[in-house]
């Protein structure tokens, strides 16, 4: 797991419009793979892009306001805490926000 230990840097990642509502997209942020999700409520989350179970691409998963479900074997992870609700190891969650000018930034 890659919870940042040193000083985190803010990275400007993409315009919010690049994230379709309710879906995920993956980016390379500071040399790491990060999956961004835009929930229907508008909240954006940034988590590690690969599933700890068997490396599934989490950005291809389905989400609700609480969890992302991995497309490969349907393990689920809380988008805010990273905890798995299906007994897998947790995933890394990175602080993430949307600037007033509509850009998504991630701290890593």
């Amino acid at each position: 797991m890659s919870v940042p230990t040193q000083r985190a840097t803010r990275h400007d990642v993409c315009p919010l419009d690049d994230l379709p509502v309710g879906e995920g997209r993956a980016y390379v942020v500071g040399g790491e793979q990060v999956a961004l999700f835009r929930r229907r409520s508008g909240k954006v989350s940034a988590v590690q892009a690969t599933c700890p179970h068997a490396g599934g691409p989490l950005a291809d998963g389905q989400i609700d306001e609480r969890v992302v479900v991995c497309p490969l074997h349907q393990n689920a992870f809380d988008l805010d805490t990273g905890e798995s609700t299906t007994g897998q190891p947790p995933i890394a969650v990175h602080p993430c926000s949307v600037d007033p000018d509509g850009r998504v930034t991630v701290e890593l």
């Binding site: 993409c14 994230l19 995920g24 690969t50 068997a54 998963g61 989400i63 689920a76």
Partner: protein, 864 residues
Amino acid sequence: MTATTTRTSALPQQRDHKRRLVVVGNGMAGVRAVEEVLERGGAQQFDVTVFGAEPYGNYNRIMLSHVLTGQEQEDSIFLNSLPWYTENGIDLRAGVAVTRVDTFAKVVHDAEGGTTPYDVLVIATGSSPFFPTMEGLRREDGSMLDGVFGFRTLDDTRALLAAAREHRRAVVIGGGLLGLEAAHGLATHGLQVDLVHSPKHLMNQQLGPEAGRVLRRVVEGLGITVHTGVRTKGVHGTDRVTGVELPDGRVLDADLVVVAAGIRPNTTVALASGLDVERGIVVDDRMRCEGGAGDVYAVGECVQHRGQTYGLVAPLWEQASVLADHLTGADPTAEYHGSRTATKLKVAGVDLVQMGLPGPENDDDEFVVFSEPHRGVYLNVVVRDDRLVGATLLGDVRKTTFLQQAFDQGLPLPEERMSLLFDLGTPGEEVGVAELADDAQVCNCNGVTKGAIVQAVEGGATSLNAVMGATKAAKGCGSCKSVVEQITQWAAGGNLTVDESANWYVPGVPMAKPELMTAIRERGLKSVSAVFRELAPGGAEDAKSKMGLTSLLRMMWPEGIEEERDGRFINDRVHANIQRDGTFSVVPQMKGGVTTPEQLRTIADVADKYDVGMVKVTGGQRIDLLGVKKEDLPRMWKDLGMPSGYAYGKSVRTVKTCVGTDFCRFGLGDSTKLGIDLETRFQGIETPAKLKLGVVGCPRNCAEAYVKDIGVVAVGNGKWEVHVGGAAGASVRKADLLATVDSPEEVITLAGRFIQFYREWGNWLERTYEFVPRLGIERVRAVLVDDSDGLAAGLDERMQVTVDNYRDPWLEGQEPVTPGQFRTSLPLVDLPLVPRRPAGAPGGLVPEVHSNSNATPSTAEVSR
């Protein structure tokens, strides 16, 4: 809670003081004993302290096998959670091991240096895996090589699961119950497993040689390589294990080794405390320890009673009950006289129950055997003096309940011994649950009697789930579930409630399908988010319900719904099937399995151009291009210019055909043309689960129509049989004959009517092989063929609208529907990572890369 007591002098026992009961061992036996004590009002008599070396509450050790396969999650196997101890005023010292007991001073010494006085002590330390001496198993400093595991605790299981995710080859040493369950668990994670067992046949403790041989065939059928009569010579590896050496010098490569070569009672504490120990801690019929000074008892796998030690849970329920009778004074005459044990193997796909003797011992023992090795069936019973003293049921366990009762209670046996193994058609063979005695133990794993289930039902538990929750029945190996269900039904009379959520169409909206459809129609809901907003508790979305709702809405509103891309599973967002490494597979439509040189040329060119990992002919009669990058999908479809074959959809998939009248000398009908027509008409239509069709030109059935969701068979004179509800996947079921019709047109109408019926009434993910038997073929026939309910015209009409509104989704590839629809989701991984298999190479290349869980950051910066 884990603060240790440091009072050293034991208070003299006083009448008005509660006595101090200290239990060493927080496992299944120790905590069961405490539960039994509490049940007898023990809370008034005792202050209870429990020491447990493991840092957890009490869990069901049996279920570790299911945790290893992934069938159960860790948190669902706890029998007593930490709050349970607090609620019952029990001082739990979780993670604190006891080192010795001073039975004269009546003080327990623990590994943290604490001392705890007691008035009554119970030792329930269980047992540990036995590691036989093997060359190379330990490093010079005595520590075990990395990659060597036992299989006893939750921590062992977690470590095994972690190792299984990272490695590919495992060797399991020991072919008993535990070894087989470990091997199966690892195999389900895709590991290549070798099982090495030194006796001549598997489960030799429980089975005779013949049964062992049949079991071996069955286990090998699961993909596990079995070596019997082979003693492991040694283990290879300097720091981490790399292989296991056999006596003939052969080395089995291994990334991990599980040693399941037996268990040994944990007797260290007892020995250090001066108690009598032979193979286990010696106890009398009241579970009292010999040696040392009084008031010390022992229960569970650590004990030896009348020369016998046990490795199963059933005996410890009886022991705990006798012990509690003595401790609380509830029944000072209670005695334990030993247990008759039965073993059940918890390996999916292998039904095995064994009780008592594996075979005859005396000259006049009766022995009835039935063996059918190629089907994996072996059954026997041993009868002595008209009583059942042994039974082995492998591959057919239908008679378990009866035999178990006969074995446990010495019931009179039927004259005709054969009927012990088979239902001979005479009535009253199954022991009706009504006749079972109240104290008959139904669930051996959790020691639950029929009486306890009846009590639970009377106490208000009126669904199977509620009874299972209240009594823990059927929560062990699960083999008694059907009996528990029957008793629940019987006890509840007409008042049985079914578990509500089991009927919901999707987990996130508490409504069964008909109810949900009515609500959707009444409110005119046309998007997944609208359904959640209006019908889900608190309006909350549920990720796992989205796909099912999208399918339902598309069925209900054929003219179109308010599309929400996040309502679709990834496959339906990009129209290809996601693979284990995040690449996709593309299966172009090839109606009826018929293709042309031009199509093949196009496919070949595309395969070259996009450098696909493998080109494969599928079991569905078309061609699969595997290992395709997501980014390449739109251009690839454009180059292919062929529609999707829906190999990924919960929808109509393929129609397999045979060559029929045009070419086959036996052909009775033009199966090829009919197959193509069916596929053309119904292509891509959403169904509750995938739907596969087959059309054959005669009953020789070359395209396997009898085992399809819809199978059509030409029978001559222009007649066609339409069969429904067949399958040959995880379940194999021959389809039921729905009707025989007179023309291909009628086949198409009837097939369409069936599909629409299934779309409207089938549960989400319910295949037709479940749907048809659920309703019964007679009912299906009445509705679809005889139009008993006046539904036929409506079904036909709605199917026609659906067909008219069909659009080929591959067309959308050209213009992405959402930003980044085809962006990679693993930007730093060099895709594809699936093994590459050049055409014609026997077996292809050795797959070097099989999963990318440790994706190394590499090249591709992604364009933003």
